[in-house]
């Protein structure tokens, strides 16, 4: 089965090509093509995953280019991480495409939407299957293009246009870092292949400082893609795209590509403790930073977006503290429950046509399916005991503790409290209390939208059991199998029991506090912080990060551009106009010679002949 794994990304590509070539004639029937193709991909990836349990890593490459003595290869590789990612990506993509069939109903560019989804899925699957960094980089950029297209899907909306541009440019900053990192790595090791790179790294071909530099450059790429501080601000803006897109790209798959990248290049990071430190600190800071912003946001999708940023920070924190398994584990569970949350939020938005949580409320009884599903996702992300988020978050806390980085551990604990709090604030604002909605008739979403959510909810509940302190650490052992030396050989992080207890207490405290403030209203909203307080305003404006960028980077570039445009206008333009004016003058002189008088022409022509003849007669020819 694994030798046919190359078919997995081909199916979505077929979707893309068929829908693209059909030019929108298929209308809503395009959805079936997308769903069937993605289903095929999903089944194939599931089979590949099953087979991977039994067999070793499969890798096939062909020589693609040979330049001098260097062979550039193309192909694909199925290792544990890839197989897992393939299933996650194709599953979420499949579910999102099912969901979109209901959500995007009536959309004019329906088949275009599915074409883009197919394209993105193709790129993402290609990305996780890539056997070398060069190929990874190709798909990495294609994923960025797909994201750009989908964010800007409502291109007639100015915000969507700006958001798409912003996402593209900000991730590009990261991509440059990644590219430079890849080039340096190739320079140092002479190969793009993962295996050869890791071998070269372990044999000490590259100096320690060089390794740190390369690892940090690659991490910058991950920062851009995964929305880590300081390149996070595109991700909340990317919520201008359709909600299923947010679920697919900006929750479950593309943003996880950064985490995937770090996980894939994990041996490289392991070799440099400074780089690990950078990853861990960036992750930890982003986690609490984004969580604090999420506390006050009023747009449901933005809260979820900041929550995503925060959770991705968690994963980075886990990877940075040598918790490879914890990071990948959280990547998987997060993909399920965050996709669920986005789809549920989309369902809510679909029902009452607003994203502002101040205008929601009292929907529990009206949305009989969406409500419990949303609650499931909320509980999972908050780390409520026995749901998937609980186990994976626990794993991360353990990893941080075991690593001995207590400051980061504390950050993580506080963040999980904040997570529980803001998620339940969201939940209570939407589903309890008075209805503040303008829409009187609230209709539950159609079953085509509920089905994917049910599947995701099911996974959000049970996916944690692959790696628990009690029932064995199946996932960790499997991921580590054969890679012990490369990945640090830590299949499960052990820690004191009180950590787990504390994690539970912390999340329960967050839930309780949210309950008291937003559901029971026992405590006034200003209990924590006044609405017009300075601190509140800072949070509400997302720490003014966008403004800071605008006033520093934006103005710097604007100033530079202005300067360059003046150079262009006056110096280059001056030269150009001098040339044109002189040529024009020459032309004018020439045109004055052109009087239209045939005799004048004849005279001039004869003059030329006479001069030539005289020269000939005087200087040489037959006279000598």
């Amino acid at each position: 089965m694994m030798e046919n794994a190359w078919l997995i990304p081909i199916f979505p590509l077929v979707t893309f090509l068929v829908l693209l070539l059909s030019g929108g004639r298929l209308r809503e029937r395009g959805a079936y093509i997308g769903i069937i193709c993605t289903l095929a991909s999903f089944i194939l990836s599931l089979l590949v995953l099953m087979e991977r349990f039994k067999e070793p890593t499969y890798k096939i490459t062909i020589d693609w280019l040979s330049i001098g003595g260097t062979q550039l290869k193309a192909g694909f590789e199925i290792n544990q991480l890839n197989a897992l990612m393939l299933v996650i990506v194709s599953l979420v993509s499949l579910l999102v495409q099912l969901y979109s069939k209901g959500y995007m109903k009536g959309e004019e560019r329906f088949s275009t939407f599915y074409a883009y989804l197919g394209f993105f899925t193709f790129a993402m699957l290609g990305l996780v299957m890539a056997p070398n960094l060069l190929q990874l980089y190709f798909f990495w950029e294609l994923v960025g293009v797909g994201s750009f297209l989908l964010i800007g899907f409502y291109y007639y909306k100015q915000e969507a246009k700006n958001a798409a541009k912003k996402a593209f440019i900000m991730t590009r900053i990261g991509d440059v870092g990644l590219l430079v990192g890849i080039i340096l790595l190739f320079w140092g090791t002479g190969s793009f292949e993962y295996g050869e790179i890791f071998q070269a790294v372990q044999s000490g071909v590259i100096s320690n400082e060089g390794l740190t530099l390369i690892a940090i450059l690659i991490f910058i790429g991950a920062v851009g893609k995964s929305g880590q501080f300081p390149l996070h601000s595109w991700l909340p803006d990317a919520m201008e795209g359709p909600t299923p897109v947010s679920a697919l790209i900006h929750a479950a798959t593309m943003v996880a590509a950064g985490v995937y990248l770090v996980a894939t290049m994990f041996p490289l990071f392991l070799a440099s403790s400074a780089a690990m430190q950078v990853v861990a600190i960036t992750g930890g800071f982003t986690a609490i930073f984004a969580a604090s912003i999420a506390l006050v946001q009023k747009d449901v999708k933005r809260v979820l977006a900041y929550s995503t940023v925060s959770q991705l920070g968690f994963m980075m924190l886990a990877l940075g503290t040598a918790g490879y398994v914890a990071g990948v584990f959280h990547l998987m569970t997060h993909a399920f429950f965050k996709a669920l949350l986005f789809l549920a939020a989309g369902s809510v938005i679909h029902a009452i046509h607003t994203q502002d949580i101040e205008k929601m409320g009292g929907l529990w009884g009206k949305l009989n399916w969406t409500g419990p599903l949303f609650l499931t996702g909320t509980l999972a992300i908050s780390g409520f005991p026995l749901l998937s988020g609980f186990f994976s978050k626990d794993e991360i806390l353990m990893a941080a503790w075991e690593n001995g980085n207590y400051l980061l551990f504390a950050l993580a604990v506080i963040t999980s409290f904040l997570t529980a709090f803001y998620m339940f604030r969201l939940f209570f604002m939407i589903f309890t209390g008075e209805s503040r909605s303008q829409v009187k008739q609230v209709k539950e979403s159609p079953s085509i939208m509920l089905l994917p959510m049910l599947v995701l909810a099911f996974l959000a509940v049970i996916s944690g059991y692959v790696q628990t302190p009690w029932f064995g650490t199946f996932l960790g052992e499997w991921l580590m199998e054969g890679n012990e030396t490369l990945l640090g050989g830590n299949s499960h992080s052990e820690g004191p029991v009180w950590i787990m207890v504390m994690a539970v207490l912390v999340s329960l405290a967050g839930i309780f506090l949210a309950y008291m403030i937003y559901a029971k209203k026992k405590l006034p909203r200003s209990w924590l912080v006044q609405e017009n307080n300075e601190f509140y305003r800072v949070l509400d404006n997302k720490y003014y990060i966008d403004e800071i960028y605008h006033f520093t980077v934006g103005y710097a570039i604007k100033g530079l551009s202005l300067f360059l445009s003046y150079i262009e206008r006056f110096i280059v333009g001056g030269v150009v106009s001098t040339v044109t004016i002189s040529i024009e003058g020459l032309g004018k002189i020439g045109s004055k010679l052109q009087t239209g008088q045939v005799q004048r022409y004849g005279m001039i022509a004869f003059l030329g002949l006479a001069v030539l003849l005289v020269i000939f007669a005087v200087t040489g020819g037959y006279l000598r």
Binding site: M603, F606, L607, A610, L613, V614, F616, A617, L623
Partner: protein, 172 residues
């Protein structure tokens, strides 16, 4: 160089030819210019006779002195508005042209003044017309026919060009 009759004849004819050319340039009345040129053409015919080309000489008289001059006179009659051709204004251009022509003449003269080819005995004067006829209708028959076509084309073209357009004729 002894003064033979041929030489005297040549000098006389050359003098008349050049005189006609100079008169062409210096005279002011257009008709006079053309008449002056008739002398040139006639003396050129004499030159041909000196070169034992009787047939060409006769043709020269017929075509040039006869046909072309008459056609030119017709042209002048049909178009004449001002009797005389007032000289062009630009003296500077004329001087330049004179210099150029002088340079040209000197350069060519340097090439030909002592061109000395030993005179070969020739039989051109014996039955000159017959020789030309044989040559023309045996060796040069194709150019001859092409020439006839060309003359036809020129005839038709001249008629078409000179024909008064009815519409335009009505306007003017």
């Amino acid at each position: 160089m002894t003064l033979s009759g041929e030489l005297i004849a040549f000098f006389g004819l050359a003098l008349v030819a050049i005189l006609g050319g100079v008169l062409l340039i210096t005279l002011t009345k257009v008709v006079h210019m053309v008449i002056a040129l008739v002398f040139t053409f006639l003396s050129i015919a004499g030159i041909y006779l000196l070169l034992s080309a009787e047939f060409v000489a006769v043709v020269q008289i017929l075509i040039y002195s006869g046909a072309i001059t008459i056609v030119m006179l017709f042209g002048i009659m049909l178009t004449k508005h001002q009797e005389s051709d007032e000289p062009a204004k630009g003296g500077w251009g004329k001087i330049t042209l004179l210099l150029a022509i002088a340079g040209f003449a000197v350069a060519v003269y340097l090439g030909i003044y002592n061109l000395d080819i030993p005179v070969q005995p020739a039989t051109l004067h014996e039955e000159n017309t017959k020789q030309i006829g044989i040559e023309l209708f045996s060796k040069y028959v194709i150019p001859f026919e092409v020439m006839s076509v060309l003359l036809l084309v020129a005839l038709v073209g001249a008629i078409v060009l000179a024909k008064k357009d009815d519409e335009e004729g009505d306007q003017s």
